[in-house]
Subunit: 274 residues, 2 copies
């Protein structure tokens, strides 16, 4: 089953656009076994999410042990929940072939995030895998995102911020219906622009919780015409909702609360469409 189909099924079955980022921080896990911590987080949330998203950095920082940990985590995720490898890789095509083998074939992720800066031939080794999802980093959630992403560019006769040019190019690369955008929740205005430029693409939306994105405004800005098309990620606010032994229950409560807030915006948007 393609990533898009798997994502749609999981989102429908769990009535959720929430994605939980599985990013282990040894200091905040505080002496617990990291693998069992993450397994408990998955067990506590897997009926509340449409996807999981491990960011590879948090495994790579653990060396060989991180590799084994990542495989354990991937195994613990129910097979009907798609898993996005947040890798943000970007290199020349020959090198990206190797990254695609690592991320899709060796690790078995359903989707990935990639950098746009090297252009189409750079991401082509990922794009050609039509069964896999490819989220192009477009407008990020960090404070300095504007430094390059918002520079004004002459493109096809119009003046636009660079992130809009990236979005339009990404749309033109989408031969297999497997392309999406990374668009941060911290910038609802940009999310709205992107939705108008790319009405049918899935958006991976990081920046909820620890990064303090405005949930309501972001959801309203990013929903597609059918009230979907978003994968809204929270990592630290769910994983570390409690530092005590009740971390699983606390994570579930936080995930439930986020899902409910997202669903309320979807219902309101459906109402205003009706």
């Amino acid at each position: 089953m393609s990533f898009r189909a798997k994502l749609a099924q999981a989102a429908a079955a769990n009535r959720s656009l929430l994605c939980v980022g599985l990013d282990p921080d040894p200091e905040r896990i505080d002496g617990r076994d990291i693998a069992s911590f993450l397994r408990d987080i998955v067990a506590a949330t897997s009926d509340l999410v449409c996807a999981y998203k491990p960011n590879l950095a948090f495994y790579e920082q653990l060396g060989e042990g991180g590799y084994a940990l990542l495989r354990e985590v991937l195994q613990a995720i129910p097979s009907d929940i798609p898993v996005i490898g947040d890798a943000k890789r970007g290199d020349i095509g020959h090198t990206m072939e190797a990254y695609a083998r690592a991320i899709f074939d060796d690790l078995g992720f359903d989707a990935v995030t990639v950098q746009p800066y090297l252009g189409h031939d750079s991401v082509a080794p990922f794009l050609k895998r039509g069964d896999k999802g490819v989220f192009i980093v477009c407008r990020t959630s960090n404070p300095g995102a504007a430094e390059f992403q918002d520079v004004l560019v002459e493109d096809a006769g119009a003046t636009r911020p660079l992130y809009e040019v990236v979005a339009l190019h990404a749309r033109s690369w989408d031969e297999h219906g497997n392309v999406g955008l990374v668009a941060g929740a911290t910038y609802p205005g940009e999310l709205k622009r992107l939705r108008s430029l790319c009405p049918e693409m899935p958006f991976l939306v990081p920046g909820l919780g620890a990064q303090a994105g405005e949930l309501e405004a972001s959801v309203r800005a990013g929903l597609d015409a059918e009230g979907g098309g978003m994968v809204i990620n929270a990592s630290r606010s769910v994983l570390y909702a409690s530092t005590g032994s009740d971390f699983g229950e606390a994570a579930r409560r936080e995930a439930e609360s986020l899902r409910r807030a997202i669903e309320a915006q979807r219902a309101a948007a459906a109402g205003s469409r009706a």
Copy 2:
């Protein structure tokens, strides 16, 4: 010793600006033990180079075995030759802290390549490590590099291609004298522009050999005022110079030939400065 000092010492001792990219391709190594193949390449070339540059993709594609392989290769490199981790990571600052731990602390690289697209706060966790080198991906060597890197941008009253804006920002980030640029050998004109904008920065120059950059034009375009400031990388043309059992000698001959061609251009440039 800082990366910059180590690089200068190795370049002087070996009279070389050549860097060999240690990127294992199992199909081209053809049944040989990959670790011993790479150890032999290092042994055959370590008096001819100023640096080595493993690209992490080619290890990640091998799973857990790739991790062990990378550590073996890093151990086989003489301690006076700096090693650049070609990772091209780019993510929000919190995540880049984890990548910096992975690349600098766990793996022990002397320098790294990073993506610019997320801006200064994204690469700050690398930049603050003043003893380590940080090469910002600026103008790459792939055929489609121009798609985003050459878009014309309004910046501080001037209209410039985006890669020049990235270079100027990178220069302004260089508080610790540890910042460099990735600038492909396939585009000597762009290399020359970058040298005029950033007269004192080291350039990591990929694209020789398999990517068919014009060596002479690139070296002349990229040298700094002292006839240095370049780390000129060749990977496949050295590693796979022969597919036979003489691969080590063939790699050495190819590395010698590249070093000689680079030195000839440096001598000519020194002559024209005198």
